[in-house]
């Protein structure tokens, strides 16, 4: 099984979630993160003291899927979250060796 970690713009959460649902994904875990990359941040100013904020609010989606579904999930995300502007984010894929559903003790594919 694969873990798909996608760093996205916060306001795209709802759209991406919907597309993922359609793709057959049954679960997603979301974390609020701050990202730093090519996209430039903004300045803030407090009583004349101006400073640069480089970290931008992003969300991280973590989705564990069967290897067979990997490409469709990646495609779904890529398509939906692409605005063509710097800062759209990345997808990282890695291997998950084992999955357990706590409630039932089911493992791996059954646990997804």
């Amino acid at each position: 099984m694969k873990l798909v970690s996608a760093i996205l713009r916060p306001h795209q959460l709802d759209d991406v979630r919907e597309v993922l649902l359609e793709t057959g994904v049954s679960g997603v875990t979301v974390t609020e993160v701050k990202g730093f990359g090519r996209q430039k941040g903004h300045t803030e100013m407090y009583r004349g003291a101006e400073y640069q904020v480089d970290f931008l609010p992003k969300i991280k989606l973590e989705i564990v899927v069967a290897a067979s579904e990997l490409s469709s999930v990646i495609e779904a995300i890529t398509k939906t979250a692409n605005t063509g502007k710097v800062g759209d984010g990345k997808i990282f894929v890695s291997t998950v060796e084992k999955v357990i559903r706590i409630r039932t003790g089911e493992t791996d594919q059954d646990a997804l």
Binding site: E44, M45, Y46, R47, G48, A49, E50, Y51
Partner: protein, 424 residues
């Protein structure tokens, strides 16, 4: 004419009731609540929002503890030092514990217990203002000890000089609601404290943005409202004097807020909420000494100058001089108090056409009045600076001024108070 009107207003009550005026009492009762409201929760929120999240409770407890301690000190000796008969420098201890002040005692045409309580709320906010100078790094015990000494040795005597029959009052200093007594003393106290205590770890290297701007702005709104009691209540009467003081207070606040905001917009490209409310506080501080003496048109000018000058002073003190007067107490309150006290000498004059005020002190010209105002400022500034410095050095010797570097890093909330602000 005005004099006669006032006299007549006072008459009926003095005829029938041996002096107590219910209407004036009612307004000063209200004003007292308003001025307490300025500190708790007003100033506490205004300051608290400006610090980092890890120090928020330290600011709030400092405001509360100063309120508690100042109240007790004011009852025990402060009021007596400030307002009991004495010489021109110092009252006396004859009103220790409010001895002899009974329910029926009057001061003017309001109960003396009320006058004393109204003044107590001023004695609370002044040392509370100072904490902005040393926020986020001072030991809590040192804050308390410092505030105790400062109230007795700086605030109470200067109050006596200006309002308690002291030498500045005799000289004809015009300070309606505390330009010298409150704002210059607090501003200078904070500046000296900031310098003696030293800057926060990382000051100038790392940004230290306000942790909760909504809290800052909430506090600012409360300050504006409460200031009606501060300046309007200082008339000690519900009459045209109080009304005009409130009106000019409002005009100056509004004007300085807008001037600051537009200035910032022009200079830095964006108008900020923090700028607007900081300008508002500057406008309020600046009009304070003038509030009972000037006209709305005068207040407009005062507000404009307050906005322009205090704005630049904030930048000079912090960015040029690199003094970590953390919440900008001196450039806003100190400078505002100085400006306002000076301008009172001008705009109080009733010979300025549209900009005329209610008149200078008896026998004064603008020049002589400004001279007196200047002496008042210098005396207050120097005395406050010196005594504040000495007090800090003494406190440093006894218990030390700063928390350790690790405690500062961790934040005062946990290290000094074992609490945290938010568990959202």
């Amino acid at each position: 004419m005005k004099k006669i009107l006032i006299l007549l207003t006072l008459m009926p009550m003095s005829v029938f009731a041996e002096g107590l005026d219910g209407a004036n009492t009612s307004w000063v009762l209200t004003s007292t609540a308003l001025v307490l409201f300025m500190t708790l929760p007003g100033l506490a929120l205004f300051y608290g929002g400006l610090v980092r999240s890890k120090n928020i409770l330290s600011v709030l407890i400092q405001c509360f503890a100063i309120a508690g301690i100042s109240s007790i000190l004011w009852l025990v000796v402060g009021y007596s030092i400030a307002f009991a008969d004495g010489n021109v420098y110092f009252g006396s201890l004859s009103k220790f514990m409010l001895l002899g002040v009974l329910e029926g005692s009057l001061r003017g045409d309001i109960p003396e217990s009320l006058f004393m309580l109204f003044q107590m709320t001023f004695a609370i906010i002044t040392p509370a203002l100072i904490i902005g100078g040393f926020a986020e790094r001072m030991k809590f015990s040192a804050v308390l000890l410092f505030s105790t000494f400062w109230l007795i040795m700086v605030y109470a005597p200067i109050t006596h000089w200006v309002w308690g029959g002291g030498w500045l009052q005799e000289m004809g200093l015009l300070d309606f609601a505390g330009g010298t007594v409150v704002h210059i003393t607090a501003g200078v106290g904070a500046l000296v404290a900031a310098m003696v205590v030293g800057p926060r770890k990382g000051f100038g290297e790392r940004p230290m943005p306000p942790h909760n701007m909504t809290m800052v702005i909430t506090g600012a709104g409360m300050l504006w409202v409460g200031w009606f009691g501060f300046n309007g209540g200082s008339a000690l009467a519900a009459n045209g004097d109080a009304a005009m003081a409130m009106l000019v207070t409002h005009i100056s606040a509004a004007t300085a807020a807008m001037v600051w905001m537009f200035y910032e917009w022009i200079k830095f490209g964006k108008p900020t909420a923090l700028g607007a409310v900081t300008g508002m506080v500057a406008g309020l501080g600046t009009i304070t000494p003038a509030s009972g003496f000037v006209s709305p048109a005068g207040a407009l000018v005062i507000g404009i100058i307050a906005g322009l000058v205090c704005f630049n002073m904030v930048i000079i003190i912090k960015q040029k001089l690199k003094i970590d007067d953390s919440l900008d107490v001196f450039p806003v309150h100190g400078v505002g108090g100085i400006l306002g006290t000076l301008m009172t000498g001008i705009f109080a004059s009733n010979e300025l056409g549209l900009f005329s005020g209610q008149g200078l002190a008896k026998g004064m010209t603008v020049a002589s009045q400004v001279g007196v105002q200047f002496i008042g400022i210098v005396a207050t500034f120097v005395y406050t600076a010196v005594v504040t410095y000495v007090i800090l050095k003494v406190v440093e010797m006894i218990i030390g001024l700063r928390v350790s570097s690790e405690e500062e890093q961790q934040g005062l909330d946990i290290s000094s108070h074992e609490e945290i602000g938010y568990n959202l």
